[in-house]
Symmetry: C2
Subunit: 170 residues, 2 copies
DNA sequence: CAGTATCCGGTCTGATACTG
DNA sequence: CAGTATCAGACCGGATACTG
């Protein structure tokens, strides 16, 4: 599929009590060509992530973000602008009749595509940071059974992290 | 399963050209009880995420992180300490015979559990930020087919984001 | 409402140097 | 190697005020 590539396993079997990630002195992909690094440059910021969380929960308006997050207005203004320029939010106008139009910030498909990632981070928080039962659970609409984030193959079947391999183009 | 809960859908059907996340003025879970917020407080930082990326790729030593990331040594020192205290890294010693022991920072299970999340963020970057083909692909060890992150139900089958519902304990 | 303007004290950053 | 020390400057948080 990729004619010339380097293969790398994240986790070797069997796993040990001491973690077994093989020691290396540099990452297989240089930082300036890594799209994970570019993603971190956009969303790797506390306020940005909190704003995206609220946006995924349906918040759209400046003062709603400001009230919920207690973020300084100057900071909020800057982050919304950055997220809009990066293409994760779209600044639109809503018009209630009789009043002048107001702006609102709507997630673009690019922004919505972060939803599984933030939900996975929430589940990570539930598992490792939570005290007591998780305040929120993900379920399937149809079956009502629990749902989690995981790796999936082409056929729609779950794949364990131990069975995932990284192929790097050279 | 949860006796008294509020149900909320992320995405309604049918989807429109204009995004359809329903407007709300506050998130269903208050910020001070949300484990996603706690997770963001730990990993929602540029240098922290970059360090975790390198750690997942097998880096363990102070100067390796410093060289790869060009992070100021004071900052690196602080972040490694914070990550260790938060339980994502474990500071251990390695001893090459004849030399004195050196510290290294190894991912704990809690830190390794972030792997799918960072890989998903990489795929998001590949999809929305990348120029040219992705430098790295995730494949299944056995079948060699492509793998991505998604919702999975109890039986190990993929579930579309449209079919996921949030249940909030009250 | 949805911002921009301003100010101020504090932390973070980045650069450089120094030490066991 | 693996840090700590130091320092100037940027950025942040919080408050307050002002505007369309």
């Amino acid at each position: 599929m990729w004619p010339d590539f380097l293969v790398l396993d994240f986790f070797d079997e069997p796993r040990q009590a001491v973690r077994m990630t093989p020691l290396t002195h540099r990452s297989p992909v240089p930082i300036d060509r890594c799209n994970l690094v570019k993603a971190i440059d956009i969303v790797g910021d506390r306020w940005t992530l909190l704003i995206l969380r609220s946006a995924l929960f349906g918040l759209r308006r400046f003062d709603d973000f400001q009230r919920e997050l207690s973020v300084p207005r100057t900071v909020l203004s800057g982050r919304l602008k950055a997220l809009t320029e990066a293409g994760l939010l779209d600044k639109q106008s809503y018009k209630v009749e009789g009043r002048r139009p107001r702006p609102e910030y709507i997630l673009t498909p690019q922004g919505e595509a972060l939803q599984p990632i933030l939900m996975a981070l929430m589940q990570w928080g539930d598992a490792w940071l939570g005290d007591g039962p998780a305040p929120m659970n993900l379920t399937q609409k149809t079956s009502r059974g629990p749902v989690e984030l995981g790796f999936v193959d082409e056929t729609g079947r779950a794949v364990g992290a131990d069975n995932v391999r990284i192929a790097i183009k050279r």
